[in-house]
Symmetry: C2
Subunit: 254 residues, 2 copies
């Protein structure tokens, strides 16, 4: 900490805009990188550039947390890392279960980054009896019969669903009944949950389709600009008549 700290403790955690919350992890990552390079302070301009956002937005975001900057100087990196971590709840550790240990589930389990920010893989759960006991990422897979026991025994409140779409809602219901109140869903389904339960969704298929939309638009505009009207770029079109929705375990839906 380079300079004096007038900063107020700022317990006004309430009322932080959702959009701001979604950016805090971004700032935190950039700040962590600076911290590792032992950079003592950073200006909103620099940090915003590192996080890929507008500097005014960043300052406004931070203003919701409290007044943690020093005018004329910038923000104290270590102090800000601590404040954001605290705000995000990363100063405690969160036991997480992953349900559905297919390709994606295994990839998630193997992902070392879990441990690095207050998250800990408490258990891996799969419905396949053949998987039971088999270690993935050093953790033995447990059968889904024991799901409730596992959740409650470990005080798990965050669950990750990496099952096929068809199983997702049932798994979700069991997780919620067992006490899970936050779910990260990789299955291509809309989960319905009671009030008070948060669901976030990661859906590769949707992301790709959004990219395809813009890609098509680019191609169309390019074609319209150069010659006639019919899109011409990146074609290899066969119109892909796919079979029924494969109800896949992994990232991508339909």
């Amino acid at each position: 900490m380079a300079t004096g700290r007038t900063h107020r403790p700022a317990t006004r955690s309430r009322g932080i805009p959702e959009a701001t919350v979604a950016r805090l992890p971004l700032y935190l990552r950039a700040l962590t990188a600076l911290s590792e390079r032992s950079v003592p302070t950073v200006s909103s301009e620099e940090l915003a550039a590192a996080a890929g956002v507008n500097s005014a937005k960043l300052r406004k975001d931070f203003s919701y947390l409290g007044s943690y900057g020093t005018r004329g100087v910038g923000y104290d990196v270590e102090y800000l890392v601590y404040q954001i971590s605290r705000e995000l709840g990363l100063t405690q550790d969160w036991p997480v279960v992953i349900v559905g240990i297919g390709n994606l589930g295994a990839a998630l389990a193997n992902y070392g980054g879990f441990a690095s920010r207050g998250f800990r893989v408490a258990a891996l759960i799969d419905a396949d009896p053949a998987m039971a006991g088999k270690p993935v990422a050093g953790i033995p897979v447990q059968h889904s019969d024991d799901l409730e026991k596992i959740i409650q025994g470990n005080g798990v409140s965050i669950g990750v669903i990496a099952t096929p779409a068809g199983a997702a809602q049932a798994v979700c219901d069991r997780l919620v009944a067992a006490g899970v109140t936050s779910i990260l869903n990789f299955a291509p389904t809309v989960l319905s949950v009671p009030d008070g339960v948060d669901v976030r969704k990661v859906d590769l298929s949707i992301e790709l389709q959004i990219l395809a939309f813009h890609e098509q638009r680019k191609a169309g505009e390019e074609a319209a600009a150069s010659d006639g009207g019919v899109p011409a770029a990146a074609t290899r079109g066969e119109s892909a008549d796919q079979g029924p929705d494969g109800d896949m375990p992994a990232v991508m839906p339909a």
Copy 2:
């Protein structure tokens, strides 16, 4: 197609709000499910419920595409599937390359859903020479030396980055230089790209951190409601002093 079609072809693809574009894949999935069950028509109310959105929002979304409904009846499922597919550019097939065949890259490659909506894995690329030639999901991994050749030879315009964070920007630069104009980034980094290139980001760590924030807020409110003020739920806190940012290949950043 049950009833008469007054619908206009609606080539006004321009000016579809981004939020709407992001929901189109959701509608498409719900419609595909209906189509497989041979449901001929669906009302905005039903479809909205299936997609987990407000019916007014859905109708407004569709209104950007054109007038594809029939008052008093609803929407023709098959016709709408076609229109949305076309709007999203899914009537042509998009060759995609995946760069970085670690746990996640392999999971993505194995994901059958790729083929099911106009996307085709054209190549798998990894920097590790030991991986070269090794088949993953039936596709031989190619070395990143040949990246440019592969991109150009297959007319690839969409690239998926599943490399460690440290390699992501370099890979990105090469992809863009080779002609890729849409990137789906799984690496925990902010990619900088020239204008005209779209980047979408999937970041497990951020999703988890957002969940943790809300989880903490719930716990805090609960505690405040019952007794004193200090949060008490779901604790197992050890404050997780993690090592340096592991620069992991997979989904999760820091």
